[in-house]
Symmetry: C2
């Protein structure tokens, strides 16, 4: 069985929450402080903090504290493993389609023989 890939699981899990995706989308426009990120969500600060922790743990964002303000920025490379997995999946699928096509060709040749 394909062995655990905890990083990928965590990555997809992080992306599975709409609030977290919204935060990432916001951050794609540029860095922001925590309060700034929390405002559009309608959620309380501690809740948003938790989402930010999740995002930071999987490496999707980086944060730094300056004085009492924490600034968050996106880490776009962190999305790569997800893309890679999806691409692999697609190429597996296409390989299979290719084999099916080959079989169909072969079947036609047999029939015409």
């Amino acid at each position: 069985m394909a062995k655990h890939d905890p990083a990928l699981s965590q990555l997809f899990h992080a992306l599975s929450d709409p609030t977290r995706r919204a935060i990432l989308t916001r951050l794609a426009e540029g860095p922001a402080r925590v309060t700034e990120l929390s405002e559009p969500t309608g959620l309380r600060l501690p809740t948003v903090m938790r989402h930010l922790s999740v995002l930071e743990e999987v490496g999707l964002i980086a944060t730094a504290k300056d004085g009492r303000v924490r600034t968050c920025a996106i880490v776009p490379e962190a999305l790569a493993p997800a893309r890679t997995w999806l691409d692999e999946q697609r190429s597996l699928w296409e390989a299979r389609l290719g084999r099916l096509e080959a079989m169909a060709m072969k079947a036609m040749k047999e029939r015409d023989r």
Copy 2:
């Protein structure tokens, strides 16, 4: 705020489980019956059934029962929304990089004036 996108959330959630990803990878090679899918997982049948339900609910697989055997097949188009979101995210990021670059150019011109 970006409005809810429950389908995307469910899709990412479905992909966030290693067992489910393993099942998809297996199915990329061709259809399989339930028992066949359960064997390599080391999990009990009802557990695997639950995973299959999740996959079917989000449209990642299709199943059909013939006699007492249920056959499962992948539905590769179902991955598209995930890919699309990742691509959008990347293009947002690149647009931002573009703007930063433009700002840097402008700053250099100002400085050289």
